[in-house]
Amino acid sequence: MTALLRGGVFDPWQELARIEAGLVKGKHGACASFVGTMRDFNVGDNVHSMSLEHYPEMTQQFLDNICTQAARRWNLIDCLIVHRYGEINPGDPIVLTAAWSAHRADAFDACRFLIEELKARAPFWKKELTDSGERWVHDTPGK
């Protein structure tokens, strides 16, 4: 189980290939993964870039913790979270979650659990730079 915070651009497919290269061949029948990428629009506005603030120690603990929870709840061979922080541009990957298992139901359910928990409760705060200036997304009506 690996949870990584990254201050610069990462390639989700390379991260997945790297983890998989370390797994024993022939044991995992299933890998489900999710990649969240920065869009250039949100709540009707053009978004030029964003800045993702986090609470380093708490964020790391939170991500480690949801990996542990997933491994307790489903039959997993491995799981992975990679999350960006700092300045992010449209098209950049923001988050990757993945789960490996013998069977696909466990892989899908764990992968989705990781991203849903992360979105709901991981300590990240997003400030967007739009046509009309900077805004914290938690202050945006409708978000």
């Binding site: 609470y55 923001i94 409760r121 705060w125 997304v137």
Partner: protein, 79 residues
């Protein structure tokens, strides 16, 4: 007892700083720490808090050496 206090995102912009230290001389809650650290500023609705990097409630008791954090609702990713 001495406590580290942290503020994040829009909350730190409103309060005017990101870090401070407070001294408390009697049993206290997270709410009390907010009042001491901000000089009694009004707490925005939906403010979240953590004790030692774990989510907590405003009426939880604090202990010597704790790190208390206040932050707005989290907003990871955009998908």
């Amino acid at each position: 007892m001495q406590l580290k206090v942290k503020f994040f995102a829009s909350l730190s912009e409103q309060i005017g700083f990101t870090d401070t230290t407070v001294d408390v001389d009697k049993p206290a809650t997270v709410s009390d720490v907010w009042n001491l650290a901000t000089g009694g500023q009004t707490m925005p609705v939906n403010t979240l808090c953590a004790i030692n990097m774990a989510y907590a409630r405003l009426d939880d008791s604090i202990s010597n050496g704790d790190e208390i954090a206040f932050f707005p609702p989290v907003t990871g990713g955009n998908a």
